[in-house]
Symmetry: C2
Subunit: 237 residues, 2 copies
């Protein structure tokens, strides 16, 4: 999955950032706040579902992304589109919840729709999936992901109650819309019998013991075929 001589795809200049396209899979703060650090006049296209675009549009602070240079492209579920030249993407629903700041009294944590999505990325016959938040591996999702060349998957917590046990809050992983790595319903067990070329955990919370290279949990995850994602990691398929 190489996309040509990428440094030459982009204009260069004193303040240019080599970003053509930004895709957000969720409207929560950890997914959209980074938009506020992009430069005022940086041209790019912002891709998201209509629901996520709606969440962003409801916050005038994002109007700093000047409409004359930043195009907002609404993307329907399950319809392929060109994310950048030579790279096709498809958004699909995964179980999740609305952003923290839009939660009401009762929160449905296995909502399947436009609010939380995964992405299939395809180029030159290879397909990678990026799913940073996912509350459960549904049968539909199993079918979709089986046979993938590469999977980046929600690695928020090791165990559902690890933040509670650590005295850091009252929320479980399930309450936050995340399935955990460990246990019979965990992601490590759930993906064990599937054909996936490479499996990489992303989106780890700082309580997750897999982040410590010398932990038992890190050794277990690796023994089960998972890579623990790191900043700056590059993977060639």
């Amino acid at each position: 999955m190489q996309l040509g001589n990428t440094p030459h795809l982009f204009p260069t200049g004193l303040r240019e950032i080599p970003i053509q396209s930004v895709l957000v899979t969720n409207g929560d703060i950890d997914h959209v706040a980074g938009l506020l650090t992009l430069r005022e006049m940086q041209p790019f296209t912002l891709f998201a579902t209509p629901s996520i675009h709606g969440v962003v549009a409801d916050n005038p602070i994002f109007d700093a992304l000047n409409a004359s240079v930043v195009k907002r492209a609404p993307i329907s579920l399950n319809e392929p589109f060109e994310l950048v030249s030579g790279l096709e993407a498809t958004l699909f629903p995964v179980p999740g919840k609305v952003p923290l700041y839009l939660e009401g009294e009762h929160v449905q944590t296995d909502l399947v729709g436009e609010q939380t999505v995964g992405v299939a990325l395809s180029a030159q016959g290879k397909t990678a999936y990026y799913i940073p938040g996912c509350a459960a591996l549904t049968p539909e999702l199993r079918t979709r992901l089986d046979g993938a060349d590469l999977l980046f998957f929600d690695g928020t917590l090791w165990q559902d109650d690890e933040m509670v046990r650590a005295g850091l809050g009252q929320k479980t992983g399930k309450r936050m819309g995340h399935m955990s790595m460990d246990g019979p319903d965990g992601s490590i067990a759930s993906f064990a019998d599937m054909q996936i070329g490479r499996k990489v955990f992303v989106h780890m919370n700082n309580t997750n013991p897999v982040l410590r290279p010398d932990s038992n949990e890190n050794a277990i995850a690796q023994a089960k075929g998972w890579t623990i994602g790191q900043d700056g990691m590059e993977i060639t398929l």
Copy 2:
């Protein structure tokens, strides 16, 4: 201006941040985006003018600051209030403009009201002023600041057109609501005849040559009695 044994003013815990109070002087991204990085259940009081609170309230993303733990305190101009125990603060208007993301077709850059404010901080008979954005030194502001023990002042640009000349954009300092350091109307000349104990530039843009310790501009600013602010700087009065 020492505030007692400050480390003991705050509760401690695995995820406690020693913040009791947050004061924002402007609703623009560089002033409010940091609120999104504070922890979900971190109790503090957010102080601002009613107008600035309105700007924040118009963006649901800030509802992540849970109303049950984060108190939003509206502060009237020119009315002293207790910012933290032993430290009195007063907000006052300075010339400026609305946040970038609320700009319309025509932007008034010398608006005086609740949208851009300075702060007087008083404790134990000493007074410091914090004014990170200011479009002009009005006669009223001169009168207010004369005799201050310490002034932190808007140091965005050295020269009004430095970003234009560097090819980084079309905006001047005046257009952004900032007076520059250099020139007959600049801050260095404007404050030269005033009695101020210490003068510190803050809020420098990355084009400002005073940031280079070996620049002529840095030497000029220091020769005129200014300190160039740095991250982590502490000043005892």
